[in-house]
Symmetry: C2
Subunit: 218 residues, 2 copies
DNA sequence: CTTCCGTATTCGGTCTACGGTATACTGTAC
DNA sequence: GTACAGTATACCGTAGACCGAATACGGAAG
């Protein structure tokens, strides 16, 4: 207890805090699609002024969870099937590029982190936790690529990916075990391909993996 | 004249207006790399309050023209060679994906717009104008792909692309004619490939075109 | 009963003000 | 002369209020 008393004070801003809460509220379904997010209402509910709420909404718009209508009012984005098709197709492109770069740039520590994620995914029985680790695996690949702008583009998609995966899990509870096993296999194979430092093969495998996720949706 | 009198009144916000002015100032070099952009200073110079300036700076950060340091102060981004390598490599990936989609989804009007851009590029002798039309061509391809998230990812790169092209032109004035001719040829070829609706060939040509731009830089 | 007009409410865009923090400069002491 | 401390300044984060615009609701007139 006393050891952690003198750690650096976590410095954050109200804007980030509000964004995080709204993000969680949207991902958890507490805020439903189409719901209006009036600045003043959110501000009073969160006990902050309108400015942090306003800035958080802009951030969430960038992440694709919120849309502003023509008169500047924010509402929770309603996703169509076309939206999810866009999300997974762009995800595939960005992850293929990430895999190519990661195959060349990865270090031993990077692979260890990936294996840690896969191991944790093996242990869990909670589908939400598994989804989170699935995202974390691909996030780590994007990070290993060490390409700031690529990572930013991926970051802007990540929250929407989470929403897609959550929805996918809800829609087909019964097949989730097969999907989990297949995902785990693909991730292990990915690590091995990265270890061999073959960008072409890494790209092929990543594309196959991402595409196979689309087929599951049907 | 009278025909345009009853067009919709252009509605904008101070935030957009400030963002546009700052963007132009950065692209034109009026604001130099590394320069601090103090909110209060910019606000008084532009005769607005700090809030629109602040929101505009956030927008420019998303576009990559501005960075916030650890204490939240904004300055004009200083680009390294690695930055430009990132920009062109991500550009290539996004444009290849765009070309694939555009090959399938384009309409006659889309191709007409592309040809219009190429024709205007032929006419101009102004290198800055040519660069702008070069960007406009690729912007149009990204638009034709009709993929919102892909277009947004490209949009976040566009301003940085402009900066790269401007710098490239300044650095090698003498070769610009060859580059212009090669670009014009590549763009015409691109239109023809799109017309044949062959996504694979469109992707190959786009990748070759984007990669060849990198070689020019050396 | 329907339609139109006016008013009231709501909401976003903007401005001003205040508090906290970091940095820089200056003065004093060693 | 140098180093440290204290003060001043500048800027960010945040709050609260004002204003204009849009919409919704109600009343009156046809």
């Amino acid at each position: 207890m006393s050891a952690s008393a003198l750690l650096p004070v976590p410095r954050t801003t109200l804007t980030r805090e509000v964004a995080e809460r709204l993000r969680q509220a949207i991902l958890s379904g507490e805020l439903v699609a189409g719901q209006q997010l009036a600045e003043a209402t959110m501000a009073s509910r969160l006990n902050v002024s309108r400015v942090p709420v306003r800035e958080a909404l802009v951030e969430l718009e960038r992440e694709g969870l919120v849309v502003f209508n023509e008169r500047g009012r924010a509402c929770v984005r309603a996703f169509t099937d076309e939206d999810f098709a866009e999300i997974v197709s762009l995800r595939t492109t960005l992850q293929v590029m990430s895999a190519k770069l990661a195959a060349v740039k990865h270090t031993v520590e990077d692979l260890e982190r990936l294996e840690m994620i896969v191991k944790r995914a093996d242990k869990t029985r909670d589908p939400t936790e598994f989804s989170r680790l699935d995202i974390a695996f691909h996030d780590e690949i994007a990070r290993i690529a060490r390409h700031q702008r690529l990572y930013q583009a991926w970051s802007n998609l990540r929250a929407q990916m989470e929403l897609w995966i959550v929805r996918a899990h809800r829609e087909r509870e019964r097949v989730k075990h097969d999907v989990h096993a297949a995902t785990a296999r693909a991730h292990r194979a990915m690590i091995e391909v990265l270890r061999s430092r073959d960008p072409g093969e890494a790209a092929r495998l990543m594309e196959f993996h991402c595409e196979s996720m689309i087929k599951v949706q049907d």
